[in-house]
């Protein structure tokens, strides 16, 4: 039998006879839960065949029906992104109102509605993320500023000040990248990247970090 790990060095093996009689009861089926069947095993087509006219007239959250949200959330959970076609068909544009409505359901999903391409900090800033200063880093970034966009990064080390979002997070147990989480994510290599490879690569790194958040914490 495969020697699974160094945990077995003490003499325990996966087939440890001590557990023979109780194995299934102690470790077995009781934690196994049946997940809802996946309606679409492939990535994209979940919303491709829908008819927008069939959308029921349900209570709306700033432009989204509850059904929209649930379907969107289901798709997000399965595929990690929101298809453009879905957004177009459901007349979802990226307005503040819509985003804030969605925020009341899931802060995570905000990050999916906006394309974090070249100006992620502006995107975040537009929804109330305020970046406070760190003088030393600000100077360093200023020195590296080659195209003006880097101004957005000046206040990198970070206080999220949008009280409404924080309140929502607390009230609904939503997941929002906290100050410390962002710093933790950044401090690994962001500044090295910025100094060594320049702005665009640093942006790529930033997107990677946020992809993690939008994938529910799974690193890409």
């Amino acid at each position: 039998m495969k020697n699974y790990s160094l945990f077995n060095r003490m003499g325990e093996t996966p087939g440890n006879p001590k557990f023979e009689e109780v194995n299934d009861q102690l470790f077995g089926q009781r934690n196994v839960v049946e997940m809802p069947p996946n309606p679409q095993p492939s990535a994209a087509p979940l919303f491709d065949n829908h008819n927008p006219q069939d959308i029921p007239d349900q209570p709306r959250y700033g432009g989204f029906s509850e059904q929209d949200i649930n379907m969107g959330r289901q798709f997000l959970n399965q595929n990690g992104y929101m298809p453009q076609q879905y957004m177009k068909d459901y007349h979802i544009d990226i307005s503040d109102e819509h985003l804030m409505s969605i925020a009341k359901l899931s802060v995570n999903e905000i990050l999916l509605k906006g394309k974090l391409t070249t100006e992620p900090f502006k995107f975040l800033a537009s929804y109330g993320f305020k970046f406070l200063g760190n003088t030393a880093k600000a100077e360093e970034i200023k020195r590296l500023d080659v195209n003006g966009k880097i101004e957005v990064f000046k206040e990198l080390l970070i206080e999220i000040q949008f009280q409404e979002l924080k309140d929502l997070q607390r009230a609904n147990n939503l997941k929002l990248p906290s100050t410390k989480e962002l710093i933790a994510a950044y401090r690994l290599e962001f500044f090295d990247k910025l100094a060594g490879d320049g702005f665009e690569n640093a942006i790529d790194l930033f997107e990677g970090i946020f992809n993690k958040f939008k994938n529910g914490g799974k690193a890409n």
């Binding site: 790990s5 945990f7 003490m10 557990f19």
Partner: protein
Amino acid sequence: MGEKQINGENWGVCGKMNTGKTHITRELAAQIQARTNKPILVFDHANNPSYEDIVRVIDTDYLVKRKLKPGETYRISGEKDIDYFIMTATDYVRDTIVVLDDCGNYFTGNTTQIQMAFIMASKNNRNDVFYQFHNFNDISPKLCRAFQMLVIKEQAIGTIPDKVPNAPLVQILHDEVQAENDELDPMKIWSYRIYDIGMDYVYWEDPETKKLTGSPGREYFRE
């Protein structure tokens, strides 16, 4: 039918020094790993020699950068920023067996938000978490209430506090363990019970065959 998913559980492993907490934890973790092929991550903030044989020593930032490989065993030793580890593990560790050695030193007093997030995330993150500590009095009430499984060894303080789920029954199990240990070589006081709180099931080791037997609590405690 849909896919099957194995959720994680919180295990409390309680006992004073030299009662074999680490040994039983490693056995249990190995069993879970054998069934699930999950990686094992030992958080050993105090450099416990019992875990020195685990050669894959990583730091907390490793969890951010890399995914733990199935079937492997890792150790984080001597981390000073325990909150940072807890927070990072909450966000990045999935489908893993996590062993928190000597956590009575930091899951104490009132549970912080960071700690609570970690405790509550184990099920959804499919992490089996083993909290090792010396005495139920050391750890926070919220953590006590989050245990689905208890491994009860002899405590230095023999009274089980009310904050422990089903405290009177746990007290019975502890007293049995203590009585068994009184008959043993003082260097081998390794008796224990495993109590599945949710399923109300008690497991004990036959002293001769060394095999575990289980019984529903309603029958066990009736005797």
